[in-house]
Amino acid sequence: MSTTLITPTGTPAASTRKKSSAFSARQLVAGLPGAFRKLDPRLMWRNPVMFVVEVGAALTTVLALAQPFLGESTTSTASPTSLAFIWAIAVWLWLTVLFANMAESVAEGRGKAQAKSLRDSRTSTMANKVTSYDEATDVGAERATIAQVASAELTLGDTVVVSAGEPIPGDGDIIWGIASVDESAITGESAPVVRESGGDRSAVTGGTRVLSDRIVVRITSRPGETFVDRMIKLVEGASRQKTPNEIALNILLASLTIIFVIVVLIINPIADYSHASQSIPVLVALLVCLIPTTIGALLSAIGIAGMDRLVQHNVLAMSGRAVEAAGDVTTLLLDKTGTITYGNRRAAEFAALTGVSMERLATAAATSSLSDPTPEGKSILDLANEQGFAIPSSVEGTVVPFTAQTRMSGVDYADGSQVRKGAGSMVAGWVGSLGSREQQELDEIVTRISEAGGTPLVVAERNAEAAASGGAGQVLGVVYLKDIVKAGLAERFADLRRMGIRTVMITGDNPLTAKAIAAEAGVDDFLAEATPEDKMELIKREQQGGNLVAMTGDGTNDAPALAQADVGVAMNTGTSAAKEAGNMVDLDSDPTKLIDIVAIGKQLLITRGSLTTFSIANDVAKYFAIIPAMFVASYPGLAALNFMHLHSPASAILSAVVFNALIILVLIPLALRGVKYRATSVSSILGRNLWIYGAGGLIAPFIGIKVIDLVISLIPGF
């Protein structure tokens, strides 16, 4: 058991593969004590199928114990009644129950290990609680009264001061300061992250450690309800509730169990008339073989393992319901920036106006970007260098930073000349007068770039005299800043389309740009110039049409939409409001992961469905083993049904019971790993699973029972 939460994730797929193969015999042994504890009927009762098996096992054991005292035949039955046979049935029935419990134990065991490492991070620390300070004038709480209290005593609304080297005592929002924080205890990521007051990166988690600087934190959780506490409960499965589909499946399994109880109960009254009545151990064996024990035994393990798979992807689901909903999602809302495109744009082309040399435009744009720290600025330099223009390494001048009002940036050089880059209209205004021919040409270029999904950055210059006298400048041309769509996304969206999921890109860009990027990325639809309200509207509209919506978000203004969405994945870097509102938290803060989450949700359902099919299909072979064995003594003609040529009635019945128990053990790894899921059409998924688990479920037990029978036939007395 080396699975812990604290593992940096590589590609998600790779990390799952690694973990799932970690299933071993050692895990089974580790699950054994838990399996015995779960034999308590009060616990078994929650699983009606296995409860029936346990009752059957107890009954058979009592009969085996009583047999020597009652004498060989209390009733004249046509079926096997030897003491060895009864004991063998009893033992294997107990094993059936144990194997089922073991599946659940092993699944829980994985979570327990994760919980332990989380608990270690929660060691009680002393917190510097601010008891009184002046919030208006002393925002940094420099002159505040500080009291040392245990972190466990902190409650909602308390304010604490955390300095470099100290652990953060509880979940909260930074209300003053900026600090680098080591969050590896939660995310497994060792590189420190920056957290600062205001904005979307103000949330801190208890148990993480401040590496530098000093922050003031307002606590946002009650004692015992912190993020880590919730995580522990989740991975331990303590707060696990049955999900809607699990409840529905349980009802179906319970109904099948009831039918088979009736089928078995009525056998003796009828068989008695035909002088073919059966001993109780045989009837119990038949019942246990018929009721869907395979899926009944593995059902809860499948659910726990599904949650666990998410945790291995560094995603925390606040409820199993959310995981299941993920499988049902029909509309995926994806933020453009960070999800579909890399966070920053890159310069792709210089487009000079007529009469301006390409070199002049490139040099002006690049030189003015020398001291520009943004990735866009750097990319302009890179492009100029790539195209072979000589750019000086430094120039004297004053940087004019970008502001929301001017929507331009630039440099005022020491020689008095000025360069500006920015949105077309603003730069045109700065230049002053613009000839109609120039204006027309500029508009054409700007439109072309916008339509292609790029951002046009207009570059203009004003020489020293004009700058001094307030004269007109000259527009040189346009830099084409391009959104870079992440590689491989188009294929993933095509996969999603095949799975019946519509992708909608959300962006603040204008419709033209949005359309072009949407086309390049291969999303089905887009929402341009989106405000949080628009997003909310879109979600409601989709839901009204019967769609299930998934989205990611990190900002406080995303919170209402996250709460409204059926699956809302909050980024761990986001605000606590967002984390509260969503029903999942992605510790890696990787919005692309939404796609993996959907796949995990689907895999969970597929695993349940497939094993149910397998379990029911198994019954056919078991019937062919047991029915002839039961009645062949009275009606030799029924031997025709025994086409497996099982050795004797006793060995046939025992083989079916043994197979029924062993198949649970064999399928535990599959239940924990999940049935393989590929994003293809529904028909081919169904075809494949029907073939493997339906047809396979029909055939496998014939072979298994025959093999077991060959072994049992070697035992004297069978």
Binding site: P244, N245, A248, L249, I251, L252, A254, S255, I258, I259, I262, V263, L265, I266, I267, P269, I270, Y273, S274, L290, G327, D328, T330, R497, G500, I501, R502, G545, G546, N547, G601, K602, Q603, L604, L605, I606, S610, T612, T613, I616, A617, D619, V620, I627, F631, S634, Y635, G637, L638, A640, L641, S681, S683, I685, L686, G687, N689, L690, Y693, G694
Partner: protein
């Protein structure tokens, strides 16, 4: 002509005729149940009983209407039997004995038409017409109404109501069953079925003996008996009687009558849910099971067992030579696969495995194509179970026609599939488990001892629980135990499923429709058709294999 050619010819004829009927009849029925206009006759009836025809009912009100109407039906039929003595046209017959009257009343109201008696010797014309024939119409109309309510639920979006039972009932009788049976009766009369009120005719036979031959309004009764999948014959030997079914052509026509409405309801379904492909899928499932089962039965009976049957070219015991093996087996399969229960040959005399197959037909839940209405709602329930498991296997919360199959829906569907097997198995087991009952069953009722005697009892409860009405004729069912127990079985076997179906209809109607995407499990492709057939077969096979092993299987595999 060999049996296999005869079989192919007859099945081809049936397929052709039913194929021609399918679309017009299915579309017509859809129009009947979705139209807004009422006929003058119907308006008169609504005024008479005080129904507002434009108001719709919630599922629970709809259900209460069904139950109330049927309860009154049972009381009325019971009453007319008990006062038969004072009714006109009673042919001088005495009142029907209590337990038989109760059994018969339930039998006709539940669309079962199990007859523990010889009709021509027990019921006069008035009881036959006022009591039984009326129920032949209305019990069929009730079945169709319930099916239509379920289909409406599947088609509706966020609706509290599922239609108006009184309107559905009235329209079913007035616009579908009456006109169709009128046409059918005329065809039957032309074919040679009798229609008179002449009572018993006493004749001297050629050998000098005396014989009394009953007459009666047979053709009119015969038409609705088959069209409404009722099955209660005018004569004890049912459609084997030359006055009911004179020749091979009327025989084929009677098979068409049994299948016409049940198959065409698949079209009605497709039309009402606005997707004909769904209707064709359901039709395919019904059609495939019907053809396979009829072929198997024909094969088993043609092979026969023993030298006698080999000489006769098949197991001819209990079959009419004018129908032959094929005419008998197709009729028998159809009768047991629908909930008709009419017979033109004695199922008791079928080969052991053949008789077993007739039971299996009923055990499948009578869904291929099933009784009028009951067949389509039965197969839709099976579709829900199939969709549930298959839906999980493709990674979505299962849905059928845009309706989620959640805990409530699966609970109701499970209860539905639990009901009939429980009734059949419990009834059969109790017949042997209670010592006093067993004495009566073994001593009085069973004509045969041993395996075949047991099969007769199993057949009786299978028939009653599934509202079929046919019997292994060797059994004497007119005993207090059978009259009572089969009565209970018919009652529960009819109305418990209806409760679950209407509850489902309500729960589907209240749901919104989930839009179909590429991620939705398609329920119209061959893949799903195969899956649904598999579900129908496996669910019933697993339930009934042990009891079949002790009867027909043990007997047939000697």
């Amino acid at each position: 002509m060999s049996n296999s050619w005869l079989f192919i010819l007859q099945v081809a004829t049936l397929t052709l005729v039913l194929g021609l009927i399918y679309r017009p009849l299915g579309d017509y029925m859809a129009r009947v149940y979705t139209g807004r206009k009422n006929l003058a006759l119907e308006r008169g009836f609504y005024r008479l009983v005080g129904v507002n025809a434009s108001s719709e009912q919630t599922w629970s009100v709809y259900l209460r209407s069904v139950l109330a109407f049927s309860a009154i039906g049972v009381l009325l039929v019971y009453l007319v039997q008990r006062i038969q003595e004072i009714l006109p046209y009673s042919l001088g017959l005495p009142p029907v004995e209590q337990s038989l009257a109760w059994n018969t009343a339930i039998s006709f109201v539940t669309n079962t038409n199990w007859q523990s008696y010889s009709p021509e010797l027990t019921m006069g014309y008035t009881v036959q017409l006022v009591g039984l024939a009326v129920q032949n119409f209305v019990s069929a109309a009730v079945g169709i109404a319930v099916a239509i309510a379920l289909i409406r639920g599947l088609a509706a979006r966020r609706s509290r109501t599922i239609g108006n039972f009184w309107v559905d009932l009235t329209r079913g009788v007035v616009r579908i069953l009456l006109p169709l049976s009128l046409v059918a009766a005329v065809v039957l009369i032309i074919g040679g079925v009798i229609q008179n009120f002449s009572g018993f005719q006493h004749v001297a036979t050629l050998t000098g003996g005396a014989q009394s031959i009953p007459g009666g309004p047979v053709a009119s009764q015969e038409a609705i008996k088959l069209l409404g999948t009722n099955g209660g014959g005018f004569f004890n030997v049912n459609s084997a009687h030359p006055f009911e079914n004179p020749n091979a052509w009327t025989n084929l026509f009677e098979i068409v009558l049994m299948l016409a409405i049940p198959f065409s309801l698949a079209r009605t379904f497709g039309r009402m849910v606005n997707d004909h492909r769904q209707g064709y899928a359901i039709l395919s499932v019904m059609g495939i099971i019907w053809i396979v089962s009829a072929s198997l039965l024909t094969l088993l009976e043609s092979l026969g067992n023993g030298t006698a049957s080999q000489l006769a070219g098949g197991a001819m015991e209990g079959k009419e030579t004018r129908f032959g093996i094929v005419g008998s087996t197709i009729f028998g399969s159809t009768s047991t696969l629908t909930s008709t229960g009419a017979v033109n040959s004695m199922h008791d005399s079928f080969t052991s495995l053949g008789g077993g197959l007739a039971m299996v037909n009923m055990m499948l839940g009578e869904v291929a194509p099933g009784g009028v209405g009951a067949g389509i709602y039965g197969i839709l329930i099976m579709a829900i179970i199939a969709v549930f498991v298959a839906g999980l296997m493709v990674g979505r919360t299962p849905e059928y026609l845009g309706k989620k199959i959640g805990a409530r829906e699966i609970k109701l569907a499970s209860l539905y599939i639990l009901t009939t097997p429980t009734i059949v198995l419990a009834g059969t087991a109790l017949s042997f488990a209670i010592p006093a009952v067993r004495e009566s069953v073994v001593g009085t009722s069973m004509a045969n001892s041993g395996l075949h005697g047991y099969s007769e009892v199993l057949y009786a409860f299978t028939s009653a629980g599934n509202n079929n009405g046919s019997a292994f004729a060797g059994i004497t069912a007119n005993t207090p135990w059978f009259n009572t127990a089969l009565g209970v079985a018919m009652l529960l076997g009819r109305f418990l499923p209806i409760v679950f179906v209407l509850a489902l209809a309500g729960s589907f109607a209240a749901q919104d429709k989930i839009p179909t995407t590429a991620g939705t499990l398609p329920t119209h492709r061959p893949q799903f058709i195969g899956l649904l057939i598999g579900t129908v077969v496996i669910v019933s096979a697993l339930t009934y294999l042990p009891v079949l092993a002790l009867g027909p299987l043990a007997e047939g595999l000697k």
